[in-house]
């Protein structure tokens, strides 16, 4: 049997204590970092990501904070977040009210991105989804009050698709129209031109991140009228489409059958 060496047990104990200490220290440091990383995922609503940015959780795994997108944006739209500025440190964002995205045809920011944090699959800027504009304050929007400001509508790069002026009755005056700026999310890229252009001291139309701007229909919901149009007939075979009842005052109202004893 080999002679027992005297030193190792102490060395081993020392090694184990050192390792335990290092592990504990790392656990503490790691937990703090993990907590901070979790907080960093909460992107403030005013901070919009550049065109083609992956969803926020994926973006934070992909963006290396090189700022190449910032450098190649010809309009100085983008900037990198400073420590404590809201968006995760060093990541690119823009604030629509300050400098919106001009929706460059060649999307230089996406082309500059070396990592794919800005998805190179985005080749048509009209498909960008940086957010969705929402008319957040109808009580102050000039058009909603019955005036003809129309500025947000006019500046929209996707005018008449992303934003339309929907005519409705002006209940207040009784005989005027209201041209309500109405955003159609399907076409809105979230470029922020409308928010930037809003003439009021605080914009009444704002680009919000999609998670805040949009609701969601239940998976199983179908819009009957759309289904019918697609099919070109009643959705359920053999269903009887009963006539719609019209109010009695309608001038051209003629009942389908005459009731006995009514003098008609």
């Amino acid at each position: 049997m080999a002679p027992r060496r005297p030193a190792p047990p102490i060395d081993r104990r020392r090694f184990l204590t050192d390792a335990a200490r290092a592990a504990a220290g790392c656990a503490v440091a790691g937990s703090l970092l993990a907590l901070y990383a979790r907080d960093a995922r909460a992107l403030p609503a005013e901070a919009l990501r550049p065109p083609g940015a992956l969803d926020e959780p994926d973006f934070l795994a992909a963006c290396i904070r090189c700022g190449l997108c910032v450098r190649d944006c010809p309009y100085d739209t983008l900037s990198l977040a400073d420590l404590g500025e809201g968006a995760a440190t060093g990541t690119p964002f823009f604030t629509a009210r300050q400098i919106p995205c001009e929706m460059c045809d060649d999307i230089p920011c996406v082309k500059a991105c070396p990592t794919g944090a800005l998805d190179p699959a985005l080749t048509d800027i009209d498909d960008a989804k940086m957010g969705v504009a929402v008319l957040v304050d109808q009580e102050n929007c000039l058009n909603a009050l019955g005036l003809r400001c129309d500025v947000c509508y006019r500046v929209c790069p996707a005018i008449d698709k992303a934003i339309t002026l929907d005519r409705m009755h002006n209940e207040r005056s009784g005989h005027h129209a209201i041209f309500l700026p109405t955003v159609h999310a399907e076409h809105c890229t979230g470029c922020g031109k409308c928010e930037q252009a809003c003439v009021l001291p605080e914009a009444t139309i704002k680009v919000l991140p999609i998670r805040l701007a949009r609701g969601k229909a239940a998976e199983h919901y179908r819009l009957g009228w759309e289904e019918m149009e697609r099919k070109g007939g009643p959705v359920v075979e053999g269903i009887i489409d009963l006539p719609d009842r019209l109010p009695e005052e309608a001038p051209d109202f003629a009942p389908l059958m005459k009731l006995p004893g009514t003098g008609q």
């Binding site: 901070y36 904070r65 400073d82």
Partner: protein, 303 residues
């Protein structure tokens, strides 16, 4: 005899001030150049290099990417595009060749800060303070990768003072300076050479990259060493010098530890010109000292 406050005084006397600061000056120049080329664009409108230390594009053709940042992204679940991957491979290849921690001494913008802290620390004669093991940074590196994987984020970049300082300067941000101030004070008051020497996971990573680097410092003329200890006083990783300097004729004079940052400061301060840059296959005979006082490590090994 060494003068603790001004190591290298003998060297200055013998080689002149310039001769005794050659590598230091080159290193500061290099650090200035690596920062300056990024500033040419924003300050002078000359866009040779765009981006920052995390990722850059030079002359619109050469991509460079920080491999550690990309690695965190990969363990966090993102497979990067080819441009970033290519950039990281180029960087890895270069540092694998010249020594990973060349990043630390020749490129990293934090190095002048921690060097300044160390200089002031010596001036003020402050105590060493907390000295965690040098391996702590490897633990931290592991932790950083684990947190990246668990949270699905490039975790270290949320707080990394290295990139934050450089990005801050290049992109005109300010808050990162607070972190740099913290690193300075940490090194000055809490732990001598604590940040770069013990904690920084970036340095740990580059150390691993440079395990087998070709460029090395050698104590080629170790027989001439007169024990002034100036090299130990200036070396940021002083443990790496001993095996080479105190080795016997049979042992290599090359400083092979990947912790050596190839800063060349030992070459500067040695009045006897013991050290020089060479490659790891340099087999020139370098006899040990005539009357070797066996190093504690060797005594232990011999026992």
């Amino acid at each position: 005899m060494t003068d603790k406050l001004t190591p290298g005084r003998d060297a200055v006397r013998r080689k002149g001030w310039l001769g005794a600061h050659r590598w230091l000056i080159l290193r500061r120049l290099s650090q200035a150049v690596f920062l300056g080329i990024f500033l040419l664009g924003p300050w002078a409108g000359i866009w040779w290099v765009k981006g920052d230390l995390a990722g850059s594009m030079t002359f619109d053709v050469l991509p460079l990417t920080d491999p550690l940042i990309l690695l965190q992204g990969m363990v966090a679940g993102h497979w990067p595009e080819l441009t970033a991957l290519t950039g990281a491979l180029i960087v890895l290849a270069v540092y694998a060749l010249v020594g990973g921690r060349v990043y630390c001494s020749w490129v990293c913008p934090v190095n002048p800060v921690t060097d300044a802290a160390h200089w002031l620390h010596a001036r003020l004669g402050l105590p060493k303070g907390w000295q965690p093991k040098a391996s702590t940074r490897l633990w931290l590196l592991g932790t950083v990768l684990a947190v990246s994987a668990l949270t699905g984020t490039i975790a270290w970049e949320l707080v990394n003072p290295v990139t934050m300082l450089q990005r801050g300067i290049v992109f005109g941000m300010t808050a990162g300076w607070a972190l740099i101030g913290a690193v300075f004070l940490f090194d000055l008051l809490l732990a001598r050479r604590g940040w770069c020497g013990r904690l920084c996971p970036v340095g740990a990573f580059y150390g691993l990259v440079g395990q087998k680097s070709v460029l090395r410092v050698s104590a080629a003329n170790r027989a001439a060493c007169d024990d002034c200890m100036d090299c130990f006083a200036v070396c940021p990783e002083m443990a790496v010098i001993t095996p080479a300097l105190r080795g016997t004729t049979a042992e290599t004079p090359l400083i092979l530890s990947p912790d050596c940052t190839n800063c060349g400061r030992c070459i500067d301060v040695c009045a006897q010109d013991v050290f020089r840059f060479t490659h790891r296959f340099d087999a020139h005979p370098a006899p040990g000292r005539a009357d070797p006082t066996p190093s504690p490590a060797r005594q232990r090994r011999a026992a």
